[in-house]
């Protein structure tokens, strides 16, 4: 262990055990805010210290605090976008991936953008005029970038006209010993709702597809993918690991 890492370990331990001076606490807070390696170190030490929890007896908190917790969480949600895995990734990298995938899908569909539209992504998924007249918002396509740990990313494109959801994978493949199941997470509902199981899109590599008869609400709904046994989750909700999550955005 280097002198520097020992110093950081000493600082983290001293502060976490309540013995930090004001100067040490200020240094701790500064590193916590700016140094991911230091945050990892603190997280590790907290895990090592966690067994001490057996020495504290369980005590039921006063009534009413849960309502206060949810009130504050709701208030936070009204002010800022809740952080999720996807939000931790580099925004520009995601934007680049979305743009690249949109371009690839557009090329695959032989789509020629209308000159009047300056935004390249908007016309990728064409819509039926009749449906657009009835449900203009629902007829537009939607995209969700679902991020997992490390670098894997799945870009979900919803084509409401074809009732299809297509998943384009980056740095990850569809599993061989199970299936990916897509879940809709909607505010105010009981729990995640299954949207179906991805199947490999014929004639493609790194793409999955499932039929979807469901409208998605951009900027509100979230999608998640779990790894499930063949045939999908045997229960109403996911039973396997949630490996990707992300928010639905309108195109």
């Amino acid at each position: 262990m280097s002198a520097e890492s020992h110093k950081l370990e000493l600082l983290a331990t001293t502060c976490l055990t309540g013995h930090g001076t004001d100067a040490q606490k200020a240094e701790f807070d500064g590193l916590w805010g700016n140094d991911a390696a230091f945050r990892d170190l603190v997280g590790e030490i907290e895990v090592w210290l966690a067994p001490l929890g057996v020495l504290a007896e369980e005590v039921t908190p006063p009534a009413g605090l849960f309502d206060e917790i949810m009130r504050q969480i709701d208030a936070d949600g009204a002010r800022v976008e809740p952080p999720a895995i996807a939000d931790d990734l580099n925004v520009w990298r995601i934007a680049a991936i979305v743009a690249a995938v949109v371009a690839v899908v557009a090329a695959g569909l032989n789509f020629v953008p209308r000159p009047a539209k300056a935004v390249a992504a908007a016309p990728v998924i064409t819509t039926a005029a009749s449906r657009a007249a009835l449900e203009p918002d629902a007829a537009r396509g939607q995209v969700a970038v679902l991020a997992g740990e490390d670098a894997p990313v799945v870009v979900i494109l919803h084509d409401p006209e074809a009732n299809k959801v297509r998943a384009t994978l980056s740095n990850v493949n569809l599993p061989e010993d199970g299936v990916w199941q897509l879940w809709l997470v909607r505010e105010g509902t009981e729990g995640p709702e299954s949207l179906g199981v991805f199947e490999t899109r014929p004639g493609t590599v790194g793409q999955g597809e499932l039929a979807l008869d469901h409208d998605l609400i951009p900027d509100s709904d979230r999608l998640a993918i779990s790894l499930e046994p063949a045939g999908g989750s045997p229960e109403a909700g996911p039973t396997g690991q949630l490996i990707f999550t992300g928010r639905v955005r309108g195109l």
Binding site: H19, I45, F66, P192, T245
Partner: protein
């Protein structure tokens, strides 16, 4: 810590929390809050500050839930880590001082000592002075001067001794 059934329940609840399901927070809170509050009240003594630390813990847990996505173990340790940090913060503004006599007798309560066989391996490996040092510091926030007097050591040696104890706990986890 949680028993086997509560751990199983927590793992399932965390999946729902990580899927951004706010309704799951109620189950999450029911399973974990006695443990979290039990840890908080050892460090924080004013009722208002205790409530503040508890609310801040779950608020932070909700916002940081993405850290737990895809993980099936370690949720309790993660949550207690947040609770500990929030308790230390709340203690800064706590207007109710600790009662020295009560704290001095509290580090390892008799009722907990009796459960020693159920302790995690890491704790069993600590000798009495190491256990007193870490539990009194981490759980109760006893000042270094107080601990140094009780243990008969120099106050400035306490941080180094704490690091050594933490490394023992680390080694026990593999």
């Amino acid at each position: 810590m949680l028993d086997e059934h509560a751990n199983w329940r927590l793992t399932r609840v965390m999946r729902r929390v990580c899927a951004h399901e706010k309704a799951a927070m109620k189950d999450f809170y029911e399973v974990t809050s006695p443990l979290v509050f039990g840890a908080i009240i050892r460090l924080v003594h004013g009722a208002e500050s205790r409530a503040e630390a508890l609310v801040a813990t779950y608020r932070e847990a909700w916002h940081a839930r993405g850290d737990r996505a895809g993980q099936s173990t370690g949720h309790v340790e993660w949550l207690l880590g947040i609770a500990h940090r929030e308790a230390l913060r709340a203690r800064e503004s706590d207007t109710v001082p600790a009662l020295p006599g009560r704290i001095r007798n509290q580090p390892v309560a008799d009722s907990v000592r009796l459960k020693r066989s159920a302790w995690p391996d890491g704790l069993k490996r600590l000798d009495e002075s190491e256990l007193t040092l870490i539990a009194s510091s981490y759980l109760d926030g006893r000042p270094a001067s107080d601990l140094a007097t009780q243990l008969g050591i120099v106050e400035t040696d306490i941080p180094k001794k704490l690091v050594a104890v933490v490394r023992k706990l680390q080694a026990a986890r593999g």
